[in-house]
Structures are given as C-alpha cells and as structure tokens.
Amino acid sequence: MTPLLEVRGIDKSFGPVKVLHKVEFTAYAGEVTALVGDNGAGKSTLVKCVGGIYPIDDGEIHFDGRPVQVHSPRDAGELGIEIVYQDLALCDNLDIVQNMFLGRERRRGPLLDEDSMEELAERTLSSLSVRTVKSIRQQVSSLSGGQRQTVAIAKAVLWNSKVVILDEPTAALGVAQTAQVLELVRRLADTGLAVVLISHNMNDVFAVSDRIAALYLGRMAAQVKTADVTHAQVVELITSGRSGDLGLKNGVTP
C-alpha cells in the first residue's frame, strides 16, 4: 500500500536550535495515524512543516506517491491537506455555514450563494453523522466545546481534503464530548481519509488509531501498528525513545 502522505528525512532548525532530525512519517488513506510524543518532541513543528507554515531545511514530502513542494498553507490546501489546530480558528460571531466557508465563499454573480453553501454544509455534517447540532445557522458562540470541534473538523472535510490533521481535538472536552469526537475521527478514516491524530491521551490513541508514530526529542523513535504494541511500549517510546527492540539505538534512528 502506498502511503498517501510520506515525509522523508525532514530536518528543521530554528536558528541554532535543531527541532527535527531526519524525521520519517507516513499516513495511509482509510487509517488513523496517532502522532505522539512528549512536550517539545516536535509534533507541532512536523505538522506545520507538512502544512506549509514552516519551510523545511532538508528532506522531501511525498503526496500520493509523488514528490511535492509545500511552500504555503495554500499549497497544502490544494493538495488536500487540512489541519485543525487546537484553537480551532472559528469566528464566534459567525454562524456554522459562514465559518465553514470563511474566506472561500461561493458566489452567484455579485451575491453570496447562501443556498448552495447551506446545502453543502448540511450534506457534509450529515455525511459525518453529526446530529448534535440543532441548526446550521446557529452562531458558533452558542456551541459547546465538542460541537465547535465538530464544526472545525467538518470545515476541514468540506474541501475534498484527503489528509486531515487534528491537533489534540479532545484536550479540553468532557467524557461524553470526547466520545463523540473520537467516533467522528474514526468515521473520517472509515470514509477513506488519511487522519493524523495528535494526542497525549493514551486511551484516545488506542481507541481509534491504526498506527502510532512516536517522536522523541525531534527524532521519529518508531512508527508501529497499534495492533502490535502494548500501552507500556508506547509510553517507553515517548519517554525514552526506545522499548526493547523498538525505537532509537544510542539516541539515533537505526
């Protein structure tokens, strides 16, 4: 199986500080790949390199088997890579439809084509089996944390995206809303998207992921199938970069 997204040997430094060392990372269509690592391990930097926010110093990004250049978030969007950040980047004073089409509004002549935007928003939400939102003309300020997360994810899916990267989508949520978001994450992958889930919560990671990629001090310690590892092994990979035969040897990728 060819990975949909493949990162080969990425290096990234901020001035004298090297944050990513020859990082390899893959994500497959139809799967959830969990990206785990301690604070400062380089998870967010890696995602921002893929999303075109940071230029990479060295290495390659392959998309659907061919090498691509991602110089800006627009490049990433055109490839079909969408990132949902922790702050969600939603506008409180706009409704759900307006948020989903923000900056990419549909027009009919000089006017906005409200009907078609509404229909598409509705169809996207129902394709994700989202039933928790009462009206799609509701202002985002009136939504709960879980509903906001849902809208942010639906916004990412709306643009025929192929890879959706979610940065800690359950971090600020209660149990019931976390369950809904995790089920949504799983459904995204089941509809054929490649989903990358950044999370610190091991239950969330084990509940929905097919693969786990563990970063340790800017290096990819290991990328494994979730079905082949135990909780203890993943914790070791995160905290020490190795676990038995898995992971880094003498602090470097074998």
């Binding site: 149990v175 995790l182 239950n203 084990f206 509940a207 079905a227 135990t230 203890a232």
Partner: protein
C-alpha cells in the same frame, strides 16, 4: 433472521424450481428490503442493484405502491440531463411495527415506521426485582395502545417484536433465563401478543443478539459479514454474526459471551459460576473496583466512574483499568476463535472501551494471534442506546419483508 436479499432470476427451464409466484414474492420482498434499509432510491438504481430489468422493477414498484408500502416521487433536482428516474420511498408514516425492549432496568416501547424511522417512543425505569410477566406485559401493551390511539386512521401495524435481556428458546420464543429469572419458562411473546390484541404474533429475541443484527443492518457494521457485538448493561451480552448470519446455536442461546470464563476462581457470577466475563466486567465489578458499589446503580453510575477517571480520580482510574484488562482478555479469546472483521462495543461498553482502550488493546496485542488481530476493526455502536430497540423493530419487519403483500393483506383484514 437475516434472509437472503439477492433476487431470484427466472431460470431458463422451469423444472422443480420456484414457481412464478414464488419468484414474484421473493422479488417484492427484496425490493422492499432495499427501500427499507437503504432509504429512498431511484428506479434506475434499483434496476442496477437488483440486476432485474426495468419493466420488472416497474411492475414490482407499482404492486408495492398499490399496497401502500412505498410511494414514487419525482426527485427534487438531479442536475443531469434527461428524464429523471422516479424515486421510490418507504411509506414510513403509514406502515409501522411495535418494538419492545425489556432491559434489566428499563422498559422501552417504540412505534417504528417502514424504513426504520422511530415515530414515537416511551421509556420507563424497571426495578431490578423478579421477572413479573403480568406486570411487564401490561405496562408494555398499555404504552403501545396509547401510541396507537394517536395514529391516523390510514396507518397500519404490520408486526411486533420484543428484545429481552435473557435467554430466548429458538423453538417457541419462550424466555428461559434472565436477570432474577432462573428455571422458569416465561411465554413472554404469547402473553404480550394476547394483551396487545392486534391479532399479530410478537416475535421475541435476545437483546444483544438483536442489537448485533441492528448494527449489521443499519449501524456501524453494514456490509460487514463477520462481526461480534458486545453489549454492556448490568451484565454483558453478545451477538455473533458469521458469514452474514447470526449464530444462534442449537437452542437459540448462542452468543452468551458474558459467561465465557476469563478468570477461573474469580468473582462470583449471577449464573452460579465464577470468573465469567460478566462477573469481571459488568456493572457490579466496575462499581466495586472503583469503590462506588451501593451508592448509585445503572448507566449513570457507570458513566460517573468513567467521568471521575477522566477528571483524575485514581480509584476510579484503577477500577476502569482493571475492567479494561478483563474486557481485553475476553475480546482476545473471541478474536482468536471467530476471526471477526469488526468488533463492536455497545451499551455501557462504549464508554468503558473508550475510557480503557489502552488496556483493552494491550491485552489484545498480548493474547490475540497476529493474523486475526492485524485487520480487526474495533468500533463503538453507531445506534447507541437505541440498538436493542432498532433490532426488535427489524425482527418485527422480517415477516413483511419476506412476503409483503400477504402480510399487509392480513394486517388490513
């Protein structure tokens, strides 16, 4: 309970094969099943899915339309050139069944329209005392009568079925064991049918078995032929679907995964054995290991443990971890034996799995064989708390889907 939905094609030479009438009945049922499970669908789409020619599809839909089971409408907008194909819709508001759910601590009744639409629903708590047939049947039939009084004159009830937490004998639908029910024979369907007074038999099935079928026909397991559904309520039930069919066993008691022994000599189980999956993972086990037994019970109590664990309560976390480990061990055994494509956590096990997935999957990695676990998909129920009720409704619709015109004629008579 799941019958074949492939249409029969007319053989070239008719020997001892099915008669014209058999074929027509089968095809009517198959078409109705497509509309019932898949929702509104165009005639053109039906033609290609059923592999029958256009005029046959037209004849079948007009028979079903005349009977009032479906209606045909022009689609809103196709965006394509040419004459649009008519869309066939189920008459959900007109044709309905009654679905009953007898859980260990709740009773539910729903009026469910063709196409699986829940039109009306009532629910009351049930105390955990003895299984009192008279009282249960009176309550359930009372709700059904109230709902029926509110319906329009042109509606028609075509079936009724109940999901019961307990063992249901295949031969006669008699409930033979359940919570606080041992060594008794309860003719539940018969009694409920008599009290309903609709002249319809009430089919009865095990709740977890029916929920498994529900997830298979309209939930997360659509198109998955080999799946295992685990249902957590007070105890643990299950339904095993192998090759598209529910494994009922010789007497119909199959799938009682809650009584698989995972911890010999472990906690005492209500069934008389010890160390059953249900004894180690059920409600009581979770509440006791979280130090909360006796304070509160039922689904809210289980949810409270998961929430406390999430907020950092270490006793609740330990309890949930322990339960997750036993659950994972049970799942590993099932995966090794049945090699399912999908395993679904339903009822309270949805919350328990999401809250202890690290433990569940660790046990799976340690104890399930690599080829079986490699492509296994672990999922949570898509139908949630309605799974058992939806399963009962599907059981009630089974008759009308196997012989639509005959059943409708009888219901109208």
């Amino acid at each position: 309970m799941i019958s074949d939905s492939q249409p029969l094609k007319e053989p070239q030479t008719m020997r001892a094969g099915p008669s014209q009438e058999d074929i027509r009945r089968h095809n009517l049922g198959a078409l109705l099943r497509h509309v019932h499970l898949g929702g509104p669908i165009s005639r053109a789409e039906l033609t290609s899915r059923m592999g029958l020619n256009r005029s046959t599809i037209m004849a079948l839909t007009s028979d079903l339309t005349a009977a009032g089971l479906v209606r045909e409408e022009l689609p809103r907008e196709t965006g394509r050139a040419g004459r649009p194909s008519l869309v066939v819709r189920p008459e959900s508001a007109r044709v309905y069944v009654f679905a009953f759910d007898v859980g260990p601590d709740r009773l539910a009744v729903a009026r469910v329209g063709l196409g699986g639409v829940i039109l009306d629903r009532r629910e009351v708590p049930r105390d955990r005392g003895r299984f009192k047939l008279d009282e249960l049947a009176a309550t359930l039939s009372g709700f059904a009568r109230q709902m029926r009084r509110k319906t329009r004159a042109d509606t028609v009830c075509v079936g009724a079925a109940a999901a019961v937490s307990g063992g249901v004998r295949k031969a006669d639908g008699v409930v033979t064991f359940g919570p606080n029910l041992m060594d008794e024979e309860v003719p539940f369907g018969e009694e409920l049918g008599r009290r309903l007074g609709l002249g319809l038999p009430v089919s009865v099935g095990n709740d977890a078995n029916l929920a498994a079928l529900a997830e298979h026909s309209r939930g997360v397991g659509v198109a998955v032929k080999d799946l295992i559904y685990l249902h957590g309520d007070v105890g643990i039930g299950g339904g095993i679907i192998a090759g598209g069919h529910l494994l009922g066993g010789h007497d119909g008691y199959g799938g009682e995964v809650g009584h698989m022994v995972v911890n010999p000599g472990g906690r005492a189980c209500g069934c008389g054995s010890s160390g059953c999956l249900e004894a180690e993972v059920g409600e009581r086990a979770l509440l006791e290991s979280a130090g909360r037994f006796g304070a509160q019970q039922g689904r809210d109590a289980v949810r409270a443990v998961v929430e406390a664990a999430d907020r950092g309560d270490i006793v609740a976390q330990e309890g949930l971890k322990r339960v997750g480990e036993w659950l994972g061990l049970g799942v590993a055994n099932l995966v090794n034996i049945f090699n399912p494509e999908m395993l679904i956590f339903g009822g309270m096990l949805r919350e328990i799995y999401l809250g202890s997935a690290a433990q569940v999957r660790t046990q799976l990695t340690l104890h399930a064989m690599a080829p079986q676990r490699d492509r296994l998909r672990l999922r949570t129920s898509a139908l949630g708390d309605a799974a058992t009720l939806v399963g009962a409704a599907e059981l009630a619709f089974a008759h009308v889907l196997s012989d639509p015109l005959e059943v409708l004629a009888r219901a109208n008579a």
